[in-house]
Each structure stands twice: as structure tokens, then as C-alpha cells.
């Protein structure tokens, strides 16, 4: 049994007059410990797929089994629990709480999980910040940190509950190339050393190349799923069929 099993997953946005098919039919499996990049042009459905995988959104059709449990039929609270325990998110714009210290940002997922003593919670958050190299920045607020440091706080926050999956939605989109490399290196290390499953949405070729598997989406469908980045690149650059225009 794979960690993630998507079976004929579709997502339709009903905008009243028109129905937008963000995901037409996706059937895919991701194993524990994989490092996957989701790429595709804008509007290809990669963010929708990401939100679905992250239990932030619910598909309108199909089945999504995460570690054997069906997510589609879960209620909001159950999905919140999954986001808390099994998933960690890293966003393009970091999404840290302003005017709140790095430490408290990292403590946040622990507050919503099982009850643990405040001291223990603090220690865990500190250890996680140490791991991402921010041991001297506990009490800095996001506005006092550089972009790369903020993203590392976000990664620490995503990992503090020891989730199985780390999800990144354009995690390097707001970073310069040097810090991007550092963040990517961190992802690779986490994947290799701790067997954390990493799923990234990106349109940065350097980020995608770092992944071991690349899934290419176009118009809500998977057009390539390969471990050879050159194939993926080719699929991405391939012009859409003429019949569609």
C-alpha cells in the first residue's frame, strides 16, 4: 500500500455559469520517502492537486487515501487533525504569524495537537529551530528575519510535529538563488536522512531537478510522470495540441 493513493481524483469549481475543471482525472501513487516535484504551466491544476494532497481542499470526485485512510469523506475537523499530525506545509510567502517570535511560530502546530506541557513544547520548538540553523533567532519576529531565515522558520514549523509528508507550494518563489539553494539542500537532506516524503510545487527547473520524481500536469491532467528530469522538461515545453486552441 502506497502512502498516497489517488484514484480518479477530479476537482470541479462551480462558478455558476461555467464549471471549471481544475483536475480532470488524476490517478497516482506516491510512496513513503519519495521526493516529488509537481510542475506545469499556470492553470495546469498543480496548486489544486497540492491543496488536495494537503487536505486543505476536497476533491469533487474520486478517492484519496492517505496512509490507508480515506480523506474525501472526512469532515473538517478530521482533515485539520491530519494537517496537524501527518502533513507539514511550506508556502511561497512563508505564511508566518507577524509580531510573533520564531519560537512561537514553530510552537503553533504543537498547540493544536495533543496536549503537551508548555515547557516540553518550547523545547521541541527550540530543537527544531536548532536543526534548521536558527538557534540564535528564537525571539526574532518574522520582520526581523531575512527571507531565507523566514522560510527556515516555516520549515521548522512544518516539521515540528514529525509529519510523514512535507509539502512545499513554490517554497523558493520569493527567495534569491543562493538562499533557494540552501532551502533546496535542506529539503534534500530531510528526504535523504529522515525519509520524509517531500512534495513540491514549483516552476523553478533547479528545484524540480533536485527531486527524484517529477510529475508534469497540463490542463488538469498528468502528462508525464518520470524520474528522468529531461523527459519531464520536454513534456513541459511541448506545445499544447492544436485541437485545443
Amino acid at each position: 500500500m502506497a502512502l498516497i493513493e489517488l484514484n480518479d481524483v477530479r476537482r470541479v469549481y462551480d462558478l455558476g455559469e461555467v464549471k471549471v475543471h481544475a483536475l480532470r482525472s488524476v490517478t497516482r501513487q506516491i510512496e513513503l520517502g519519495e521526493y516529488v516535484a509537481l510542475i506545469g504551466p499556470s492553470g495546469s491544476g498543480k496548486s489544486t492537486l497540492m491543496n488536495t494532497l494537503g487536505c486543505l481542499d476536497r476533491p469533487t470526485h474520486g478517492s484519496y487515501r492517505l496512509d490507508g485512510a480515506e480523506v474525501v469523506t472526512m469532515n473538517r475537523d478530521q482533515r485539520a487533525k491530519i494537517r496537524n499530525k501527518q502533513l507539514g506545509f511550506v508556502f511561497q510567502n512563508f505564511n508566518l504569524l507577524n509580531r510573533t517570535s520564531a519560537l512561537e511560530n514553530v510552537e503553533l502546530p504543537l498547540m493544536y495537537g495533543n496536549k503537551i506541557a508548555p515547557r516540553e513544547r518550547r523545547d521541541q520548538a527550540m530543537r527544531m529551530l536548532d536543526k534548521v540553523g536558527l538557534a540564535d533567532r528564537y525571539h526574532h519576529h518574522p520582520s526581523q528575519l531575512s527571507g531565507g531565515q523566514q522560510q527556515r522558520v516555516a520549515i521548522a514549523r512544518a516539521l515540528v510535529n514529525q509529519p510523514a509528508i512535507l509539502m512545499g507550494d513554490e517554497p523558493t518563489g520569493n527567495l534569491d538563488s543562493k538562499t533557494s539553494r540552501e532551502v533546496i539542500e535542506l529539503f534534500r537532506k530531510l528526504n535523504e536522512e529522515q525519509q520524509i516524503t517531500v512534495i513540491l510545487v514549483t516552476h523553478d527547473a533547479n528545484v524540480a531537478r533536485n527531486a527524484r520524481r517529477t510529475i508534469v500536469l497540463r490542463d488538469g491532467e498528468v502528462v508525464e510522470d518520470t524520474e528522468d528530469f529531461q523527459l519531464a522538461k520536454a513534456a513541459l515545453e511541448e506545445a499544447p495540441p492544436l485541437t485545443e486552441s
Binding site: 494537503g54 475537523d77 487533525k81 494537517r83 499530525k85 509580531r99 503553533l108 493544536y112
Partner: protein, 413 residues
């Protein structure tokens, strides 16, 4: 998320916008302060009233001629009570301590070149002081012998001394009441004003027989009222019953007939007055409550703004695992914290205001001793009310926050 964490987060969120929090709180502060002040002053009034009745003697029962039950064509204030009734009540009824007939009159009192119209010119029995629980400052009271002989003696209240006698010792002086000379044989102790603010010391007491025959010139042997005191406040009801039974018998009233007298005890009057002051307090509280309502709407408004402003924060919290009820609780506690701070400040202000009001009343109306009442239960009620306002007006915004879609919330700019 633990309760303590939630409160900490709420406080921090409020501190980020201090000015806004303060302005929001003011609405609740005014509401709670108004309610507290009004309730406190109202309770002071109630206590003052019941205090007056204690001074009058909470154990006092008034027997009145059949007037209160006679409307329409029947004659009001029929002369049906006699001094003998009073004597019988005092002797026969076991729950009765003492009884005195009351014969009222009005007129002028003259001493030397000065004259004065006392508020009360009353003919009473020998036991009057016992009934009223009143004492003499100097001299004595008239006796049964004085009553029988229609003696022209009187006992005066404190107010008359400066008005008529100035430096002269009133004892054994002769005053003229409606041109009938009376010798002053006693001076009453000061009793102060009653609840309506009337000076109770503005009084001249004379034997009721003398008043009836020499001042009122009435040929009848009737009195205007009989004032009775029960042995204790607890025995009031029993005394009332005994008096009624005795009077039915003495006046030969059958079971089907209408009584030609009525018995009023002061607890009834006190209760009536209690209802009046209570209603007044309730009405004023309702008006004050409206300001609390306005304060609540203010909280709701600010919470709605806050939810919109912090949509992203809500999205972030949801993304890391906050459930709807975590978000609901966070915002609800924020509004309750707001309203409770408002409640506490309002309570303090209201207490200060009612203290000031009490001092003003006592300063500008000498003789009244308006009590300062700070009731602990009322304080709890006020705080509870403030919290309820927070929950009531915070629920809708909090619920809105908890229902947000995590993706939309995260994308919100």
C-alpha cells in the same frame, strides 16, 4: 489548545491594537457602570426605606377605620374605632406589646410672642412611646390619670424647642394649642426625618381625650386610628390576626358582613414601597441595559473587522491543524476578554460613582443617612452580564472565522 494559551493569544491580539481595544471597551464600561450605579443607588434607597420602617418600628400595626375597603357611596373614614378598642387590643391580644389610640388634629402652637405650626398635633394614649419605640429626653409622659382627667399637658418634639423656646427650658412652660393652654411635661428624643424626608420631631403629643374634647370638640368617643406594636417583627402576622378576631367580636361583625375597620401592618407598606423602588430600579436598569447593548454591538463590530483583518492568520492556523472550534474559541475568548475587562472597569467606575452619589445625597440633604450599598452578588451579576455580552456579540464573528475555508483564508490579501 489549552485554555491558558487561548487567553494569552487573545490578550496579545488585543494588545496589538490597544487604542481600538480601549475604544471598544468603553461601550461596555459605560453600560456596566450605569447598571452598577443605578442598582447600587436603588438598593440604597430600598435599604433606607426599610431602615425608616425599622425606626418607625417594623413591628407596628395600624388599625384604621373602615375606609380603605369602602369605596363609592360609602363614607370614608367612618368613626368606628374607639379608645376602648385600643385598650382591649392591648390587654387581650397575647402577641401585642402595646397599643395606643391616635387622634389627629391641626393648628397653631403659641408660646410668648412666637407661633409655630407643628407637622403633627396628636392625641395619643399612655403607651404611645412603647408603641413607637421612642424615648424621652427630659421630663415625663402623661399617665392614665391625665387621660381620664383630660389633663392639659403635652410632650413636645425637638424641632419645637428652637422655634418657640430658644433659650428657655420648655419644661413646665405653658404653650397654647389652638388657644388651649397646655403645660409641657416632657421632651422627646430626636428621631430624625422619615423616609419621605418629613421631620418626625416636629410633633406635639397630648392625651387623646384632651384633644378630642378640648381641641376637636367632638362629641363622639371615636379615635382616628389605633397604633399597635407586636412583641416582635416575627409576631406581626399573628398580632394582625389576633387584632382582627378581637375587632370582629367587639364590633359584632358576622362572617358575611364587611368589616368596618382595616388592619395595616408596616411590612405590607414596606413591601409595597419595596415593589415601587424595585420597579424603579428595574426600569432604570433597563435603560442602562440599553447602553450595554450598544457596547455589545460595538464589540461585535470590532470583532467582525478583526476577523476580516486576520483572515490570513486564521488560514495559517487552520493549515497547521487548528480545527473550526479552536478558531471559534480563540475569537470568542477575545471578545469575552474585551467585555470582561470592560465589565471590571465599569464595575469599579460604577462603585465610585454610586459612592459619590451617596455622598452628594447625604451632603445636600442633611438628616438623611443614605446608606452606601455595594452588593457583592450584584458585582458578580454585572461581571456575568459583561461576559454574556461578550459571548453573545462575539459568537457571530467567531463563528464566521471558524467557518472560513482554509485555502481562501490563506490566499486572502
Amino acid at each position: 489548545m489549552s485554555f491558558l494559551d487561548t487567553i494569552r493569544i487573545a490578550l496579545r491580539a488585543l494588545l496589538k491594537n490597544k487604542m481600538r481595544a480601549v475604544l471598544t471597551i468603553i461601550g461596555v464600561v459605560i453600560g456596566i457602570a450605569a447598571v452598577t450605579t443605578i442598582v447600587s443607588i436603588g438598593q440604597g434607597a430600598t435599604q433606607l426605606v426599610s431602615g425608616e420602617f425599622e425606626a418607625l418600628g417594623t413591628n407596628v400595626v395600624l388599625v384604621l377605620p373602615g375606609q380603605t375597603r369602602r369605596g363609592g357611596v360609602r363614607q370614608a373614614g367612618a368613626p368606628t374605632l374607639t379608645a376602648a378598642d385600643s385598650d382591649a387590643i392591648g390587654e387581650v391580644c397575647p402577641a401585642v406589646l402595646a397599643s395606643s389610640p391616635i387622634v389627629g388634629t391641626a393648628g397653631q402652637v403659641i408660646y410668648g410672642h412666637d407661633n409655630w405650626n407643628p407637622k403633627e398635633l396628636q392625641g395619643v394614649g399612655a403607651d404611645y412611646l412603647t408603641v413607637r419605640n421612642w424615648e424621652l429626653e427630659a421630663g415625663g409622659f402623661f399617665s392614665e390619670g391625665d387621660l381620664q382627667s383630660n389633663a392639659k399637658v403635652c410632650v413636645i418634639g425637638q424641632t419645637l424647642i428652637p422655634k418657640l423656646f430658644r433659650t428657655v427650658n420648655p419644661l413646665d412652660e405653658t404653650i397654647r394649642v389652638n388657644n388651649v393652654p397646655f403645660r409641657v411635661i416632657g421632651i422627646l428624643k430626636k428621631k430624625g426625618a422619615n423616609m419621605v424626608g418629613d421631620d418626625q420631631d416636629n410633633i406635639v403629643l397630648m392625651p387623646h381625650t384632651t384633644v378630642r374634647k378640648r381641641i376637636n370638640g367632638s362629641p363622639l368617643d371615636t379615635v382616628h386610628a389605633i397604633m399597635v406594636s407586636a412583641r416582635s417583627t416575627e409576631q406581626m402576622a399573628q398580632a394582625t390576626r389576633e387584632i382582627e378576631l378581637l375587632m370582629y367580636e367587639r364590633h359584632e361583625i358576622g362572617p358575611q358582613e364587611e368589616a368596618d375597620f382595616s388592619v395595616q401592618n408596616t411590612t405590607e407598606i414596606a413591601a409595597t414601597l419595596g415593589i415601587i423602588t424595585g420597579t424603579l430600579t428595574l426600569m432604570l436598569s433597563a435603560i442602562a441595559g440599553i447602553s450595554l447593548l450598544v457596547g455589545g454591538v460595538g464589540i461585535m463590530n470590532i470583532m467582525l473587522v478583526s476577523v476580516t483583518e486576520r483572515t490570513r492568520e486564521i488560514g495559517i492556523r487552520m493549515a497547521v491543524g487548528a480545527r473550526g472550534k479552536d478558531i471559534l474559541r480563540q475569537f470568542l475568548i477575545e471578545s469575552v476578554v474585551l467585555s470582561c475587562i470592560g465589565g471590571a472597569v465599569g464595575l469599579a467606575l460604577g462603585t465610585a460613582a454610586s459612592m459619590a452619589a451617596t455622598m452628594l445625597i447625604n451632603a445636600y440633604k442633611p438628616g438623611t443617612d443614605w446608606p452606601m450599598v455595594v452588593s457583592i452578588p450584584a458585582a458578580f451579576v454585572a461581571m456575568g452580564f459583561a461576559a454574556a455580552v461578550g459571548v453573545f456579540f462575539g459568537y457571530y464573528p467567531a463563528r464566521r472565522a471558524s467557518r472560513l475555508d482554509p485555502i481562501d483564508a490563506l490566499r486572502y490579501e
